[in-house]
């Protein structure tokens, strides 16, 4: 009699594997660190991953989907993979965890600041930590980033836009 092993993939394995999926445009942060993974469901090898897009028009979403599928297929016991983009709760920039904030800085991107009570916000230079910076353009090379300039170390840099439901 043949011995059939019923080895199905577990939820923790899936979560660990998702740490390998980086933002296609910022390779020092993972989608887990960015707070984009809202839920993981695993049932007898059928994996459902629910992802919150950072910005609705973000062209990186299909790439992220493909990358998730690719890393998860490398796990043993995966029968199917379903990546779903959902919109509730809405992604906000305070979902980025400490590792994500460090990863952004490493890339030269200032992590998103918190909004002040009056709706304003402030960013420090990711290179020299100076607060002496100016906003060059609220809109940057991707939907989630702004372009700033540090008057202390004379470097242009980018910052994640703060996004909040306020």
């Amino acid at each position: 009699m043949a011995i059939i092993e019923h080895m199905h993939v577990g939820i923790d394995e899936v979560r660990r594997k998702l740490e390998e999926v980086k933002d296609p445009e910022i390779d020092t942060v993972s989608i887990v660190e960015l707070g984009m993974v809202e839920a993981i469901e695993v049932k007898e090898g059928h994996v459902v991953v629910k992802i919150l897009p950072t910005f609705l028009g973000c062209p990186a979403l299909p790439i992220i989907q493909k990358n998730i599928e690719q890393v998860l297929w490398s796990l043993r016991g995966v029968v199917s993979i379903n990546v779903k983009f959902i919109h509730s709760p809405p992604w906000t920039s305070d979902r980025i965890n400490d590792a994500g904030r460090k990863g952004l800085k490493k890339f030269g991107i200032a992590p998103p600041p918190r909004f002040e009570e009056d709706g304003s916000w402030h960013v420090d230079c990711p290179f020299c930590l100076s607060t002496y910076v100016t906003m060059e353009n609220l809109f940057g090379p991707t939907a989630c980033r702004s372009i700033l300039y540090c008057k202390s170390c004379k470097n242009p840099f980018e910052a994640m836009k703060p996004v909040s439901t306020l």
Binding site: F55, L56, G57, N137, L138, I147, K161, S164
Partner: protein, 267 residues
Amino acid sequence: MNEHFVYAHREELISLLLQLADDDFIYAFRGAEWLGLAPHIEEDVASASISQNSMGHASMFYELAEELGLDEANILAHARPAKERRNSILLERVNGEGSYMGTPTYNWAYTVVRNYFYTQAKKIKMESLRSSSYTPLIDVALKVNMELHYHLLHWRTWFVQLVGATEEANEKMVSAIKEVMVDFGDLFSYGKESETIIAAGLIESSDVLLERWKQQMESIFHVGGLDLHLLTFKTEKNGRNQEHTADLDQAIATLAEVYQVDPAAIW
């Protein structure tokens, strides 16, 4: 979401979703036509980013319509002729004389006024949709509204600064406001389905929303020393009832050109 609600209000839902989607889709297209032509490089980046976001918003609204049994979002965006579209006439108007393929003499003042007035109107709609009777629309509106914060900040800044700049700039802005207001009348309209859309609790009435828009304008017009009588609301055509201008035919022919080469192509 209660299936019975969707069944009972399917037509109203589809009408409103297509109005929202078609507005953002054509707005994003006209914005994208400025690529490489905006007044300076930072504006080129900003305009492109705003257009990309807005295309994302259109795509979300089309997908909600798709979930109600309509064609796939890509088909809704590319394959429908002008006579099936429900966008406001204001948003289909060309950016100015000429074309980006030849010699464009686009009107920046007109673009700033149109984009500011539209973005403020859209913000008011998104806020109203947060108490919509259709839950999937609440979720999308909440997300759209977060991004819209930056669009509104951008266009309001341009508006106030140009109005308060040189005499020439001020004159161009006043004349642009007049030109924009010619087509503004259908922006808050829901067209023929208006009564049922409101009765279903999908969004508040046009009058309520228009009043909120006017309040916003009052404070900005006051800052810029502009005459509030510039804001007139007559409409000859209503885009919500699929009445359009030749400008929309031209836009669709251009934006769907690649799609029409091979509608079955996989992107």
